[in-house]
Symmetry: C2
Subunit: 671 residues, 2 copies
């Protein structure tokens, strides 16, 4: 009996709706998603209760599919570019834009949408390629200029710093009169296209949207859309039912005079419907589109094959599940009915706005209505995140205790260190995944803000050096993100001075109180002042929003030099992560997550005052603290924080770690 | 021999071009401007060297004209509104907008442009009236809600808080389908009109620009445009010749691809051409329009009668002087020639953009190019402002010493106090005018942020109360603005706590260092932190830009909660003025002007770091300082500041003031 016949039989016996052909397509989709926290979960997409034998065969098939994908050898960069140019000629356009973004404008994109990486080799998290008949360029921001030099072949692409040499400038200079620069309107925001179009017109050329992506036509082994399983996110973690969320938002929508709102951000849809998926790395979302009507009803455009048993029931009768292909026609229908439809120009694609307008809808540009309620965590989410942080702090402390033993002996590599940290985390309750690729940087690698260790780049942790580890996890009850910088052996005076200044900034933010209405932009300088006084600074934001078992970077709040208008509100989680980086030498960052909480015990207060509760629990390396640079309030904060870390974590760790914790959290203040 | 014949003879003998009719018109214009620092200067507009007899007669005529204007009794509010509505019917429109702004969008407007005050009685520095056939409303901001209640008759006008009940909302609710809301396009920015138009269209109505202002048609005794004399601002004070400024800006203009820029802000024109005037109170500008071409040539549209002898020569051959009426045709000409013309949508009127566009110009919206170079003072201006501040500090110290003697005896009124302060200032070298109406507030009046004492409102300075005085002057070499809060008798513990918190915020800003690229918005929280910690705050900005013998409020920099994008640059002057206000009780503000200066002596600095040099010199009331709330750095700042005040001012004051200064600037630190 051949393999296929056996499989057919097992599928039938399990009551699966799939035949072998259908199964093959499903597995291709599954393999196009990251393996995720529970790599076997997807088999329940095939049958609600698969037999052990079926499960085994399915996992073997998936492993084979993943191995085949890994083994695929792409054509050379020259060949890929030539194929794209050929396709553009066939379509009678001159140029094409290839952004890193997918149709959802998120931080992570699935394998299928890695078009920029396939074409140019550039694998950073933001960038754009522009291709014309005789010129091509890759645009990246300051984080990625070095990486682009390594990854992108300079013979075929000019490599540009996107702020110094903007895309618009390149278009205006390079596009020739009468030329047509094409783009995929599903991959760009309307604002981007408006800017590019103005530049193209300055050059005497024009922009043209294409119905389908010419790069997809020439990418022979492009993965299919990912098909990671979608599960319900239980009320015990979400804290508010999807029905209540829908009603709440629908009421606002009606109040604002809109008939429906288009949702294209996967984390908004996940939050609204209390579902979680695994289509992209590290953020537990499923890729989908949705329409929320002022009645509270939702149309969810998603590949049904992704829904685990029970999810349709969880969604309930007011959520209509439709195929992704039905999304466009649904927009047309809203237009034909003369509806007023809201969409967010920061996250929805130009295509959405064009299609709605063409169909006759009154289009209203407004922020995604899920963003703000999602950012303001409810009490259940707050309790969950506190619990997740205790577990995460225990794992990190076990790692730090282990590191204090091992590192001074020499020879420990960055990858081995982060692997060990991941192991400690994996043991924790509700652990699903890391929340991002761990940044594990020894010595000079610590100075690279978005460093990711590879066998080629990794360093050993050397005596007298600093080691920076920025890591986090996705737990069902919360998302964590923490950075600690530790000295291996004895740090020098400059390291201690810089570390203490970073710590002073961290404490200033942790201690600050501010009135209702205050934005993160207003507070950012508090974290930088101690560095500024010494003529130093760091070139990244001070804090980003964090989701609840969702994106580790979420808006609308942030703490940043960039002007912002979103006030910090109770329930928001934000990181507090000042740093200092000495290129070629070392990097320092101290990151805790903090929660915005009302301060109601200030005698004589005339305003509503908020402050921060620190969520993250892990010792801050005392050997790097120069207590002479701290004032009494700062020492009191550090000692109280360490006492809390010790009290909360000791019950959760082994005896060796507990002993290390006692030492690592000893007060600075005498007595 | 009758008066007219004598005058005719005197005019002829002085070689004046004026006949008596022309002279009458000139004097009407002169009387429509504020008297200014040198009330007799204008007679040189009549003749370069007028005889004493002619001078005497001219001043008598002007005094008569001013007395006649003061004696004019306007119709009742009901009558004024009825006349305007009648005029609107004649013009076949339904409504009309009456803003406080004039054609230059400045803070101060001339008597002729006080349309909002004439119509509604409201005299605040910002506001708008909207009149429809059956409804009318006056919109003011939070500073002016109380004042509007007093000044505006609620029987005829709804009185609205402009943020809570925006103009656009009122238009959308009140305008009826098919109605036409008219406006004077010279008095509104294009952004305003775009917002109003959207609201009118939501209501099914429309907006219509009018060629001339219907209110002017019904304001029978509306003053003519002001004709205060225009003088050259000597290079010894300006520090850079007008020719150099024109060349510098013209080069940038050419580089940006514009053929010309429209200048409508009087302080920009004054700065660019090194001229000063007196058409509005307290800001030494002349009302005019200008076009700067990429060649560096300027067309200045101004009433020639305002130019004092020698000014035309000062302007030189590259500055063409034309009549104000020639401004519109000049815009048409630029359009006909297909030029690219730049204008600032924040300061230029909608009319400018409409006219340029209608004539065929390519209109580019960009910031007024004079703003930034004007804000960054050159070394001559910086030296000038330091000298002006020494003089101003001496005058203020003489006042404070006098006050310390007189106030505790009781009975001193707010107006008498500010009159005395003005007297001390008037004696100073290069003094021309106050830089704004002095805020002299005792007790609860100090809590009104924009208080202006009147015989009806003024209070006596009482024992145990605080007295707040915010004042400044225009000197030829610099503009000052300073606030001191002093205790009369013994302050209570709460006053000292609040004062000390305000002082801590003031010192935090004075001491802070920040990297190149930092905006005032980023620093604002430093000044508020000590108040926030106690649940307190203040509802105004922390700092505004200040000109050099120009506007006491100038941009583009500011220190504010509001998001901003303009970095603080060396040479910028900005106020440092945190405060605290307890309604019905007292107000506290401590204001010094500070200069942005590079900090080049920080060992190991990796960034360009800037900081502030304090310009203002006057004691801060030590009896209000609770030294227990200050840390060592704060005490060191205060003692060093006071030592500097003592050292710099003692040589400039009388013996009594010197003795008082010694006591008032005694160190806080023991020993």
């Amino acid at each position: 009996m051949d393999e296929n016949a056996t499989l057919d039989r097992l599928l039938r016996e399990a009551g699966s709706p799939f035949d072998t052909a259908g199964l093959k397509a499903l597995i291709a989709g599954v393999a196009a998603a990251p393996p995720g926290g529970d790599p076997a979960a997807w088999v329940r997409l095939v049958a609600a209760e698969p037999s052990p034998e079926l499960t085994g065969r399915l996992l073997v098939l998936e492993a084979g599919q993943r191995a085949a994908a890994d083994a695929m050898v792409p054509p050379t960069a020259a060949e890929r570019l030539a194929r794209l140019r050929g396709e553009l000629i066939r379509r009678e356009v001159h140029g094409f834009l290839v952004p890193r973004a997918d149709e959802h404008q998120g931080e992570y994109v699935p394998a299928r949408a890695q078009r920029l990486a396939w074409l140019t080799g550039f694998t950073g998290s933001a960038g754009l390629a522009a291709v014309l008949p005789k010129a091509a360029a890759v645009f990246v921001d300051g984080r990625y200029t070095l990486q682009a030099e390594t990854e992108v072949d300079g013979r075929f692409y000019a490599r540009r710093h996107v702020s110094d040499q903007p895309v618009t400038e390149w278009i205006a200079e390079t596009l020739e009169r009468g030329q047509v620069l094409a783009y995929d309107p599903r991959l760009h925001t309307p604002g981007e296209i408006e800017r590019y179009r103005a530049a193209a017109e300055r050059a005497g050329g024009s922009m043209r949207p294409l119905d389908d992506n010419p790069l997809d036509a020439v990418w022979a082994d492009q993965p299919p859309p990912p098909l990671a399983p979608v599960a319900a996110h239980p009320l015990a973690f979400a804290g508010e039912s999807a029905a209540d969320k829908r009603r709440r938002l629908a009421a606002d929508l009606g109040g604002a005079g809109a008939d429906a709102v288009v949702l294209t951000a996967p984390d908004s849809i996940a939050w609204l419907l209390n579902i979680r998926g695994g289509d992209v790395p590290h953020t537990p979302v499923t890729l989908a589109f949705a329409l929320l009507a002022r009645t509270g009803a939702v149309s969810l455009f998603i590949d049904r094959r992704k829904l685990l048993p029970g999810v349709a029931e969880h969604l309930g009768p007011d959520v209509e599940v439709a195929a992704p292909e039905a999304f466009g026609p649904a927009l047309d229908r809203l237009g034909r009915d003369g509806k007023t439809v809201q969409a967010d120009p920061a996250t929805a694609a130009a295509w959405v706005f064009d299609r709605l307008a063409a169909a006759g809808a009154a289009v209203r540009r407004a922020a995604d209505p899920c963003q703000l309620p999602k950012a303001c965590k409810n009490p259940v989410e707050v309790d969950g995140t506190r619990a997740a942080h205790r577990r995460d702090g225990a794992a990190l402390s076990r790692f730090l205790a282990w590191l204090a033993q091992v590192a001074p002996k020499g020879g420990l590599g960055e990858i081995a260190a982060s692997d060990r940290l991941e192991e400690f985390r994996r043991g924790g309750q509700h652990f699903r995944d890391l929340s991002f690729d761990t940044i594990s940087g020894a010595g000079s690698n610590g100075a690279i803000v978005h460093y990711r260790a590879s066998p080629k780049t990794e360093r050993r942790l050397g005596l007298g050096e600093l080691y920076l580890v920025d890591s986090g996890a996705q737990y069902l009850d919360g998302t964590t993100d923490v950075t600690r910088t530790v000295a291996v052996g004895t740090p020098d005076a400059e390291m201690r001075d810089r570390f203490t200044r970073v710590l002073k900034g961290h404490i200033a933010l942790a201690l600050c109180r501010f009135p209702k209405g205050t934005t993160g932009s207003q507070l950012d300088a508090l974290a930088r002042q101690p560095l500024w006084e010494a003529g130093l600074d760091y070139d990244h934001g001070t804090g980003h929003g964090v989701g609840s078992y969702l994106a580790v970077h979420e808006g609308p709040q942030r703490i940043s030099k960039m002007p912002g208008t979103q006030p910090l509100l109770p329930g928001m989680i934000v990181s507090n992560e000042p740093g200092y980086y000495k290129t070629g030498a070392y990097g320092i960052r101290i990151e805790n997550l903090v929660l915005v909480v009302p301060q109601d015990r200030i005698a004589g207060a005339e305003r509503d005052i908020f402050g921060f509760e620190t969520l993250t629990l892990a010792p801050i390396d005392r050997t790097l603290v120069d207590a002479d640079l701290l004032d009494a309030d700062e020492i009191a904060w550090l000692d109280a924080y360490h006492a809390r870390v010790r009290t909360e974590l000791t019950p959760l760790v082994d005896a060796d770690t507990a002993a290390w914790l006692t030492e690592a959290t000893r007060p600075i203040a005498p007595g």
